[in-house]
């Protein structure tokens, strides 16, 4: 594989390089093999952001896209044909970058351990020409924890950056000479097909291999389980799976479009989803994680499935033989199980565009706003015709073994007047529909109470 590391081309021959594997994390590669120790390991599971690095790559249209990502999650093989910028590549010729200079001046660094990651998130923000306002800084640094500063000095430093003229930087990219990667070594296999057809072929040949894209789940699993060998199909660079297209009355989102790009596309039609999807993990993870990854894990929580359920979205499942579109409601079959056949993959999602009378409410409950797994999630979509509720569709996460809709609530609300009283009366249905469990994220009683309350919140937000 070929990539650029801080401006220097790197070529890796996995056969010759005995200690390198395409499935090792970029952080391990940097720290243990490239001797670049500026990228820190604070947790190793994508929760603290000390390992944040920048990735420059071509998008579907050939434009250079720059994103902050977690070095502890993404895998070395995913760097093929890209430019990786680490903290060592930010200061040029010994001169601090504006972002760094400003953080020095405002003392936005105390013990310093989170600082390289903070700088990388801010640097990606800078390169992407985003404004340094309090709210935009907050969103770009949502995946970076600091235990010393209390963040205020970091805000102050970065707001200062806005005062200076920006110097444009365009990270170069390797010449477009993409080749499929197939590495078989010490019992592990890593295949990186570059088009849908080859992916489907591999999926037929090796149905038991794990598909990986953002690796936000998989790298965490490997970190705790230390598997002796792995078998992966890396689908992160298949362009056909990344597209977002707008049709007459629907939006098609490729299975592997990043959550961040899905968020941007969806927010145009559903402005409330900008906030909702901003609470999906952190920016670093949203830049690489995909809707398909969130859905295919078939987790009982998860932030995407309840939304798909409420929107009655379609999911297109494809194998090398056929393609079928199913309703999102039929996707999950049991706890952590789904309807897909061994040779099938999720190809895309089809989400309806809203009509004029349509309303959507989504709320995720978690201990912390950013970068947290939900304790429960509620999404509801409805339209109001002359004060009467119609077309109700719901999606609940964290309330049962699978994310699911509530037929009882939908039926009850349909045809009733759009008043707070209607929603108050719907509350008891929550306990009829769900008998949830207690775990570290909340007790059953809490989940039920919040679900009831969200019915009222939904009315108050939508009214």
């Amino acid at each position: 594989m070929k990539f650029i590391l801080n401006g220097t081309p790197v070529e890796i021959d996995f056969i010759k390089e005995k200690l390198l594997f395409p499935h090792m994390t970029v952080m391990d590669y940097l720290r243990e093999h490239a001797h670049l120790t500026g990228t820190k390991e604070g947790c190793g599971i994508g929760d603290c952001g000390a390992c944040t690095v920048c990735l420059a790559e071509r998008d579907v249209f050939g434009n250079t896209v720059i994103s902050s990502v977690n070095g502890c999650l993404i895998m070395l093989g995913m760097l093929d044909n890209k430019h990786l910028i680490t903290i060592e590549g930010v200061a040029k010729n010994g001169k601090l970058h504006l972002v760094q200079q400003s953080l020095v001046e405002k003392r936005g660094s105390q013990c310093g351990f989170c600082s390289p990651g903070m700088v990388m998130s801010a640097y990606a923000h800078y390169l992407n020409k985003k404004p340094f306002t309090r709210s935009s800084i907050e969103s770009s640094l949502s995946g970076n924890l600091c235990r010393c500063t209390g963040y205020e000095s970091i805000f102050q430093a970065l707001i200062d950056v806005e005062k200076y003229e920006r110097i444009e930087e365009n990270p170069e990219l390797p010449e477009n000479s993409r080749e499929e990667l197939f590495v078989e070594k010490n019992g592990s296999v890593y295949i990186k097909p570059l088009d849908l057809q080859s992916l489907l072929k591999y999926k037929r040949w090796y149905p038991q291999y794990t598909l990986v894209s953002g690796a936000s789940d998989l790298s965490v699993k490997y970190k705790t389980e230390h598997p002796a060998s792995v078998s992966l199909i890396d689908i992160s660079d298949i362009e056909e799976l990344k597209g977002v297209t707008i049709n007459k009355d629907s939006l098609t989102i490729g299975a592997n479009a990043s959550i961040e790009s899905a968020k941007e596309a969806l927010s145009v039609y559903y402005p409330q989803l900008s906030e909702y999807l901003s609470t999906f993990a952190s920016l670093q993870i949203r830049n690489k994680a995909s809707m398909a990854g969130s859905v295919a894990g078939a987790s009982p929580v998860g932030d995407i499935m309840p939304l798909l359920l409420a929107l009655r979205a379609g999911i297109v499942l494809t194998s090398d033989k056929s393609s079928r579109s199913i309703e999102s409601r039929n996707f999950n079959t049991a706890y952590r199980r789904h309807i897909m056949a061994d040779d099938e993959i999720i190809e895309k999602f089809i989400l309806p565009l809203p009509s004029e009378r349509h309303k959507l409410f989504c709320s995720k409950q978690s201990k912390r706003k950013d970068m947290d797994i939900s304790s429960m999630t509620f999404c509801i979509s409805l339209s109001i015709d002359n004060g009467i509720i119609k077309d109700v569709s719901t999606g609940f996460g964290g309330m049962a073994a699978v994310p699911c809709a509530s037929g009882k609530i939908e039926e009850f609300l349909t045809g009733r007047p759009f008043t707070e009283d209607t929603f108050i009366k719907a509350k008891p249905l929550v306990r009829q529909e769900f008998s949830t469990i207690s775990d570290i994220r909340g007790s059953a009683e809490y989940r039920l109470l919040v679900a009831e309350n969200l019915l009222i919140k939904c009315f108050n937000d939508l009214k």
Partner: protein
């Protein structure tokens, strides 16, 4: 750029080398531990035969392989370095492994077989209390007659309050590297707030004299108290392995492992009773505090002692009777954490202040003001120390004005009238924090100042730089006191072979004890050099001025000599350019048995006000605004002090609202990972955050009239929790107990008075 700017810049360039970033020798081995999966059990059999045969595994050690003493501890030697017959908490180390690669070590761990007979653990603090599981005597304080106080009160309230555990979550996990030397000595690089204790424990374990153990600490990636005693583990484990294998061994804890096995802030269950008058003034306060100390004593006695010394916070309480119990449980040993026990007892008295306000209907800030220590009367603490130099009243007046408190309480009430589901609350929390180690002998520091012929300076001192800006403050002291530009000053890494017998960098004392020692050394060295100058340049000694690396006589300031020139001549004249000094804090003492004394050199004061908005449907809150006014004296560095205050506030607001450690019924920590244990992120801080430094304190206390700043501002975060409590009163008029942390769930529990089920 001077050294302090370079250091910060190096953080931001990723050039700072923490332990895991050090260049590792080619023959380095990675150290790992084999852990207990039971909270309490008897080790019946250990089989390492198969594991030993794993390629690249060099050693697997048990307690039997320890050449010296297996038991260690800060105060009592009750902690085994490796478990002997029993395991006492989940995560306790049973065996040490050294391997050439991490994967070899992981493989070995899967092949180790340890049979443990499970025994019934004690996990609940009440159960431990009932059984009298106290590893040392409980602490008591009595002052005045509480029964009389309750009898004459208009109101007497009673209640229970739980304050939760808190994980330090320093960003750099525990780490150390030990390198054996051919001369029989050992070099230990450690991420520690107390390298001297690392040295002592290694010395006992290896049966090696302290002088042969060189312990060095460069900057560490956060401490907060979590790298005082807890740093002993990696330091002693790597030393044992390195000594056994005769090669360097490095150990860097995985985050999960770190969270699982290291001690945290003590959770405390408080049962309180308070008697007060209609005007809101306290007459009597009694409380029983049950501290969950974990499996060993660690620093718990000192922590509980500091709790006892802060249960009054800023208030004069005519009669007090409190009992504080150290309850042993089968959990990791709870330990030092910023505030060192004070936040727990302060939380209780501040909670009482809010309750007094609720009961009397008097605004809580007014209630607090009525109870503040006086300047000349009502100014003796329950433990007998006179609260002199009290400025809390001045701070109160100023913050009331700058925070626009009264107007905001008014608007908040209007908001709450018109808003059904969102309610706002406000709370003002003061702090009076005692500065000094309460174990009086620890209040000592030493420094060594070496000057070179070119006039540049190297300074050694005993404090550790962990992000709190100690080195930078010390550089300010050196530069100002010597009259040398910062560029010519270098503060060295903490090295126990250069400065011996250091105290932990803790208790907010780092700048004071080390700064005073440095100042003493500088005074002496300068005095000697001034004698030389006076003699050789014929200037009056009292006229000599050192300024910006130049020396001149006040009488003739036009003639200025560069320091380098004069120092070179001093050297040629055989004047010593090196000076060592020792400092001990004067006049402090405390008798734990009778709970009386003068434990503190001085107090730091301050006040905070936070306003929150709580969504009563979801329990979510946001901090609309926080104002802080904090007593820093003549700050050695305003940005550092501001950063300490902001960081401490946010750290406490995390403890107070979202950081929750959940154990199951077997004693396993279910939240040993940042995916389930949530510290504040960038979106969780006050939307409007105003920190002001109060620099007008007329009293001279800390080094160069500055004041300690590490711990006191932690208390301010409690204002977020109590503002939430205040908002809840507008939603649910009934009294409800709001334990800390006030998570969304606890807030709803309070709002709707429902019972929480077990989370196991």
């Amino acid at each position: 750029m001077d050294q302090s700017l370079k250091r910060t810049a190096s953080h931001l360039k990723g050039e700072t080398r923490y332990i895991d970033d050090l260049d590792k020798p080619n023959n380095v081995l990675y150290g790992f531990i084999y852990r207990s999966n039971f909270a309490y059990g008897k080790i019946e059999k250990i089989d390492i035969e198969e594991a030993k045969r794993v390629k690249d595994v060099f050693a697997i050690l048990s307690y039997k392989d320890i050449p010296g003493k297996n038991f260690m501890g800060a105060v009592f030697d009750d902690e085994p370095i490796l478990a002997e017959e029993h395991v006492e908490f989940i995560g306790q180390a049973i065996l040490l492994i050294a391997a050439k690669s991490k994967s070899a070590a992981f493989e070995a761990i899967t092949k180790i077989k340890v049979d443990i007979k499970e025994l019934e653990p004690v996990l609940d603090v009440e159960e431990s209390y009932t059984k009298g599981n106290f590893p040392f005597d409980p602490l008591h304080i009595v002052s005045g007659d509480v029964e009389e106080g309750f009898a004459k009160s208009d109101f007497v309230i009673e209640g229970v309050l739980n304050t939760g555990c808190q994980e330090h979550f320093y960003l750099e996990t525990q780490a150390a590297m030990s390198v054996p030397k051919p001369d029989g000595t050992i070099l230990v690089k450690t991420s520690s707030q107390n390298p001297s204790e690392n040295q002592l424990i290694i010395s006992h374990a290896l049966k090696l004299e302290s002088s042969k153990i060189e312990v060095v600490t460069d900057i560490i990636g956060g401490g907060f108290g979590g790298k005082e005693t807890q740093s002993n583990w990696c330091a002693v484990w790597t030393s044992l392995l390195a000594n056994h294998c005769a090669v360097p061994v490095i150990m860097v804890m995985d985050r999960r492992e770190d969270m699982l096995i290291t001690g945290k802030r003590h959770p405390v269950k408080t049962t309180y009773k308070a008697g007060f008058n209609k005007n809101g003034r306290l007459n009597a306060y009694s409380a029983k505090f049950l501290f969950d100390i974990g499996f060993s004593a660690d620093l718990s006695r000192s922590i509980i002692e500091r709790s006892l010394l802060h249960l009054d916070n800023s208030y004069y309480i005519p009669s007090v009777k409190c009992d504080l119990y150290p309850c042993r449980t089968n959990k990791p040993s709870n330990t030092a954490f910023r505030g060192f026990g004070a936040p727990q007892s302060i939380a209780a008295i501040e909670y009482v202040m809010e309750e007094i306000s609720r009961v009397t209907g008097i605004d809580a800030a007014v209630v607090r003001n009525r109870n503040f220590y006086g300047k000349s009367v009502r100014n003796t603490a329950p433990y007998g120390q006179k609260i002199k130099d009290n400025i809390i009243g001045d701070l109160y007046k100023e913050l009331l004005k700058t925070s626009d408190y009264k107007q905001r309480v008014k608007s908040l009430k209007e908001f709450n009238k018109s808003s059904k589901w969102k309610k706002r609350g406000i709370s003002m929390v003061p702090v009076k924090f005692g500065i000094s180690f309460t174990t009086s002998f620890l209040n000592q520091g030493a420094a060594l100042v070496n000057m070179y012929k070119d006039g540049s300076l190297v300074v050694h001192q005993g404090g550790v730089e962990m992000g709190q800006g100690l080195y930078d403050k010390m550089m300010n002291v050196v530069s100002r006191e010597f009259g040398i530009t910062k560029e010519s000053v270098r503060i060295c890494s903490t090295n126990i072979s250069v400065i011996p017998n250091t105290s932990a960098t803790a208790a907010s004392t780092g700048s004071d004890i080390n700064g005073h020692a440095i100042k003493l050394a500088i005074d002496r060295l300068k005095n000697r050099l001034n004698d030389f100058i006076s003699l050789n340049y014929s200037w009056g000694k009292e006229d000599i001025v050192w300024e910006n690396s130049f020396i001149f006589s006040k009488k003739n300031p036009e003639i200025r000599y560069p320091i380098s020139e004069i120092i070179k001549n001093a050297y040629l004249a055989q004047v010593s350019l090196s000076e060592q000094a020792y400092y001990k804090t004067p006049g402090i003492h405390f008798d734990r048995v009778i709970a009386r004394g003068n434990p503190f050199y001085y107090y730091v004061f301050g006040l905070s006000v936070s306003e929150v908005e709580v969504d009563m449907l979801t329990g979510a809150h946001k901090i609309i605004r926080t104002d802080i006014l904090h007593d820093v004296g003549e700050s050695l560095d305003k940005l550092i002090d501001k950063g300490q205050i902001e960081g401490a506030f946010v750290q406490c607001s995390g403890w107070a609202t979202m950081e929750e450690l959940v154990y199951n019924s077997k004693g396993a920590l279910l939240t040993a990972s940042p995916d389930s244990y949530k510290i504040p992120g960038i979106a969780d801080i006050p939307q409007d955050f105003r920190v002001n430094l109060y620099e007008k304190n007329p009293f001279n206390a800390g080094i160069l009239k500055s004041r300690a700043v590490g711990e006191p501002p932690f208390i301010y975060g409690l204002s977020v929790w109590l503002a939430i409590k205040n908002a809840l009163i507008y939603f649910n008029k009934k009294s409800c107990r709001l334990d800390l942390p006030a998570t969304k769930e606890k807030i709803l529990k309070c709002a709707y008075s429902y019972v929480e089920s077990d989370k196991n």
